[in-house]
């Protein structure tokens, strides 16, 4: 799969990450010892950049996003060597201080927009609430009109009077994005924001994200299982498998020449339908079950290139010797 050439950014990408996650671990609390779900995930995203987290269900991509915003359920134990926002460590903040960041400076857009709204309140009510929470005064209708315009909604007055159940799914997701933008967040984590939408509407909302990517200064973390969407939107991609990042790098390079056997298999499978192969290429087997994780490489049981060495120890992320210094892979073939 080849990434499409992206429109030039209207704003500079700064070098210093606005959000940095070091060695994030999430485990499910169990009587006989914790079951790891996410192991040692490192992420960094800069202002104006879109980082894609690509993975299948069970890969830990949603848990990773939720853990950064402290939205994981109590049954999960989260630890990290540090989560830094604008240079400040935030994983050690108390809950009250963290709540002050979340929703304003660090925002999240979820898969199901219906669940993000209060069904008994109008869209206008949600706007007033959001603006008040972010301490933004002034004429709120005017502010709402501007925000709606950003997400492609021209009928803002009609919109404000409607209730969530009256809106189409695509419009509701747009309204949610407008709400999130109200606080002018520095980081937006979008977790499969178009997966619940129908194909045509999905295409329109992806186009909207593509516009926002170029016109807002926020950093985006875009969590998706859809390779086409990742290729359209993301500057950099982190591929997750079974709770680990197995490959990371600039989107264009990663899509044109995937390195990790899992990434290769995933791309081959996903593009087989587009290429109209008579028989689709498969990745044999299934994800390792929780609590039955191999001691060696997590992909080894499904890997056609596995060797004895792969079963002995979990490979570390190593930089790819391609001269770019920007790609890394977790595989002994490239160590």
């Amino acid at each position: 799969m080849s990434a499409e050439p992206k429109a030039a950014l209207d704003k500079p990408v700064l070098d210093k990450p606005v959000l940095e996650v070091r060695k994030l671990r999430v485990a499910l609390r169990q009587g006989g010892g914790d079951l790891p779900i996410v192991e040692g995930v490192d992420l960094a995203v800069r202002r104006g950049e879109v980082l894609g987290i690509l993975g299948e269900s069970g890969s830990g991509k949603t848990v990773t996003g939720s853990a950064v915003l402290r939205l994981t359920p109590a049954s999960m134990r989260v630890s990290a060597e540090g989560i830094f926002f604008d240079g400040t460590r935030i994983d050690t903040l108390d809950d009250a201080a963290f709540r002050d960041l979340r929703g304003k400076r660090l925002a999240m857009i979820f898969q199901n927009p219906t669940a993000s709204f209060n069904p008994a309140k109008s869209i206008g009510w949600h706007f007033r609430w959001m603006l008040k929470r972010c301490g933004i005064g002034g004429p709120w209708r005017e502010r709402a009109r501007e925000l709606f315009a950003k997400v492609g909604i021209s009928e803002s007055q009609a919109m404000l009077r409607l209730y969530p159940h009256q809106l189409s799914g695509g419009m509701l997701q747009r309204a949610l994005i407008a709400l999130v933008l109200a606080g002018e967040p520095a980081v937006i984590i979008a977790d499969e924001p178009t997966t619940n939408l129908d194909n045509i509407v999905e295409r329109q909302v992806i186009a909207l994200f593509d516009t926002l990517r170029r016109t807002t200064s926020a950093a985006f973390i875009f969590i998706t299982h859809d390779i086409g969407i990742a290729a359209t939107l993301c500057d950099r991609i982190a591929v997750m498998y079974a709770g680990e990042i197995v490959e990371e790098g600039p989107a264009a390079a990663l899509f044109s020449a995937p390195k990790h056997p899992y990434t290769k298999g995933l791309f081959a499978t996903a593009t087989a339908l587009e290429r109209r192969d008579a028989v689709l290429s498969e990745i044999p087997g299934e994800l390792p079950a929780l609590g039955a994780r191999p001691a060696g490489c997590l992909f080894e049981p499904r890997c056609t290139l596995a060797r004895a060495q792969c079963r002995r120890a979990r490979p570390a992320m190593s930089s790819l010797v391609d001269g770019s210094g920007q790609r890394s892979v977790r595989c002994v073939l490239y160590a």
Partner: protein, 314 residues
């Protein structure tokens, strides 16, 4: 082999003030299916494709029209009256976990249909189960497993095995690969294609994924909001789509196509008499407000419900 004549399925939810609000989930759909053919039904959520599939098997109440199977009207027949036909028409559901009894082992799930329809002598049921599991690419040892012990892909294989157990002449597969991950989805699609190549049973394959439809199906029917808006051979639908909605759907997998769809602010209005697609259509005319157009023939075997052709000479 199978024909639907003006099938309508109406649900009557009770509104907020106790008023009944009839809702036509499927509205006057006619189509036919030949022996050995795979017909894809595509459309977005709420288009009625699932309800249409269920109505064939008597799982959704048909309020008007007829379902005719091998010359016999089977609309609304009871299980007893259906008799042998019940065995010949099988279904595979979207979510494998919810289509199995969690307290029954795989052996029991597969043995029950075999026993009820007396297809296999009691002494040979175990061998038949092992054979079925092998057909869908699972080790025979899985027969002692319970649904929760299996992954989604494995369980969907068992669901396919259960449908095959009765040697049906037709299977309705409702989004049978939608809940599966990309890597597993390919396994199941290859399996379905291989099974079809061997058994030549007919299939109605319901999906929202056009790539999947193109991979498997001989013909494709496009549904929008209860109506069949276009139907034709797969290659024709992809090469020369006629309905603006079909074009928009194809645009989602072919980035070269322009998107002419208008974003709809509200959910569709049930009382609007005109074309169902009016609000979102990029080609709408005043005439489209009056009535939903009937299916007309565009080319042999290719029908479309749109009046655009009459404005633009082909």
């Amino acid at each position: 082999m199978l024909s639907l004549e003006d099938v309508t399925v109406t649900f009557e939810p009770v509104g907020a003030v106790g008023r009944k609000c009839p809702f036509h989930a499927v509205d006057g759909v006619s189509l036919t299916l030949d022996d050995g053919e795979i017909l894809g039904l595509v459309g977005e959520s709420g288009s009625g494709k699932t309800t249409l599939g269920r109505s064939i098997l008597g799982l959704a109440p048909v309020s008007a029209g007829r379902v005719v199977y091998r010359g016999r009207d089977i609309t609304g027949l009871s299980h007893a009256a259906l008799g042998e036909t019940r065995r010949e028409l099988q279904m595979v559901f979207q979510d494998p976990l919810s289509s199995f009894n969690p307290r029954h082992s795989i052996r029991r799930a597969l043995a029950t249909p075999l026993r009820i329809h007396k297809l296999v002598p009691p002494g040979e049921i175990d061998a038949a189960i092992a054979d079925l599991l092998t057909q869908v690419g699972l080790p025979a040892s899985f027969k002692d497993a319970f649904p929760h012990e299996m992954s989604g892909g494995q369980l969907q294989r068992v669901a396919i095995a259960r449908a095959l157990a009765l040697q049906p002449s037709m299977i309705v597969a409702d989004e049978a690969v939608s809940k599966l991950d990309v890597s597993v989805r390919a396994q199941i699609l290859n399996l379905l294609k291989a099974i079809h190549a061997k058994s030549r049973m007919a299939m109605i394959f319901i999906t929202h994924d056009l790539h999947v439809a193109r991979f498997l199906c001989d013909r494709i029917g496009v549904m929008y909001f209860g109506k069949l808006v276009e139907i034709g051979p797969t290659e024709d639908i992809f090469a020369t789509p006629c309905h603006p909605y079909t074009e928009a759907l194809l645009g989602t997998i072919d980035k070269g196509r322009a998107d002419e769809t208008r974003p709809a602010l509200r959910r569709p209005d049930l009382s609007f008499p005109g074309c169902r697609y009016y609000e979102r259509c990029g080609f709408r005319r005043d005439a489209c407000r009056e009535a939903h157009p009937a299916l007309g023939t565009h080319a042999p075997g290719h029908q479309v419900a749109c009046i655009r052709d009459t404005f633009q000479p082909a």
